[in-house]
Amino acid sequence: MISLSTQFNIAVIEFLISYRRTSLGPLWLLVGPSLFVIILGALYSEIGAVKPVEFVPHLSIGLVLWTFISGVIVKSGTIYQRKRPQIMQGVMPLPAIVNVDIFSHLFIVAHQAVIVIGVLLYFQIPLSLYSLTSLIGFALIIANGIWTTRVFGILGVRYRDINEIFQAVMRIAFLATPIIWMPGDFGRGAVMDTVLVFNPFYHFIELVRAPLLGNPVTLLNWTVVLAITAFGYVLAHFMMRRYNKLVPLWL
């Protein structure tokens, strides 16, 4: 049996190796989002659409969470193809392979969290005990990352189209989720709010972002996230019981 610490060690080594020949190493993870936050924040406040103190923290938290969420989903469709050699050596069970991938996404978030901390300090956003609620939210995001990878991993082995679909959908979902815009802006909030209810990503991000910015998390946010989590684990349970044994054959 592959223990969790072994899975963690594998993920660490693979993470370190993946930045081997770059001079900045994992610091490259900070460059993209930092530029994005600085330029977009400056641009939006220049045209006077937003107040930087409200928008930049909103943007940076949303962006970092989005990198994790979309990273997990986009990569989930190809996970078992990428790990074919490890599967075919017969020791790593599929859930362990999923965990290794989730760990590597967590390392990325851990680096990019520096940007969020920087932004919160710069704008002197007051944190309270209530802000700790966002940790529960993030734990739920991780838990959902695990079941999505388990489910989409199976689907991706059987239907190789999954990967293409995710690439296309996640780009649109980024625009449909309030990351580079704020709900309730420009007096058109009412329209977007009804659309947002049906955007699951919005509820997940709100669960982490709202407590950090001192906004209330709505009951609807909690309900949607917990319902999706429960549904996802039930789905993953049945899919794994039925199809996990076929994954090595379909590879």
């Binding site: 594998i10 050699p85 050596q89």
Partner: protein, 257 residues
């Protein structure tokens, strides 16, 4: 006086079958017209089918047994080995394995090109289920066997093909399983190293409590195995003594030619 109870077999397979639902690409008529070629590329016809890879295979491995698998290419030898290794799960029948199995198939796969040889030893070791401390103890032995000396801290991608194979073999054979599964005898290019590999493999075979080997090399099978199974189209056509199995197989081959 009662006889001591017979030891439980290390591995027991009872009427094991393996079926896979697959989507097969439909008939392609590339050469007929260019219009068909374009249509096939964008909207390929597909056919759903359940393919039977193995059917009704029964076998038993007692401690000390050495089983050889004989059969034509595609008869299901490798599939059976992967099933015994626990990679594939039988669709029907019962498979009981008592002990650690280790398959040596596709030994060269799973190396990380950007990582150094040493890092690859750690990565592969972790993937085999070893702890970091166990791997640390095994590293000197792997180094000695693979003869990589200074190269071990260079990226794997810079290795010559001989060096890659040497490291792969050294890493794959660093633990000694109860039940050893071999898909063809492993060999390396140069004669000197091949001798070493042979000695290492023999010691692995001797230390293991049971062996299953698929090979086309009849001499090797006669010298190594205690009994043999002939596989034809995923079915066990003969299961018994090595000599008889090989005779049966060559008679079958003559008939079909």
């Amino acid at each position: 006086m009662t006889k001591p109870p017979e030891p439980k077999p290390l591995l027991e397979a009872d009427e094991v079958s393996l079926h896979v639902p697959t989507v097969l690409p439909g008939e392609k008529r590339i050469l007929i017209s260019s219009a068909d070629l374009v249509r096939n590329f964008y909207l390929p016809k597909q056919e759903r089918k359940v393919v039977t890879l193995l059917s009704g295979i029964s076998l038993k491995l007692q401690p000390g047994d050495r089983l050889g698998l004989v059969g034509a290419n595609g008869a299901g030898k490798s599939t059976l080995l992967r099933l015994l290794a626990g990679i594939y799960t039988p669709s029907s029948g019962k498979l009981v394995v008592r002990g650690a199995t280790q398959g040596l198939f596709e030994v060269s796969l799973g190396m990380h090109p950007e990582a150094t040889g040493r890092e690859n030893i750690y990565l592969r070791g972790l993937h085999m289920g070893l702890q970091l401390s166990q791997i640390r103890q095994l590293v000197p032995e792997v180094l000695e066997f693979s003869e990589l000396s200074d190269h071990i801290d260079k990226p794997f991608i810079t290795y010559s093909s001989g060096m890659r194979l040497r490291l792969a073999i050294a890493v794959s054979t660093m633990i000694e399983p109860d039940i050893l599964l071999l898909d063809e005898w492993i060999g390396a290019g140069d004669a000197q190293f091949n001798k070493k590999v042979k000695a290492r493999m023999m010691s692995l075979v001797e230390k293991s409590r049971a062996l299953v080997i698929a090979t086309h090399n009849e001499e090797l099978m006669e010298s190594l195995c205690s009994h043999a199974m002939v596989l034809i189209d995923g079915k066990s056509a003969y299961y018994g003594k090595v000599d008889d199995a090989l005779k049966f197989y060559s008679a079958r081959k003559r008939k079909s030619v």
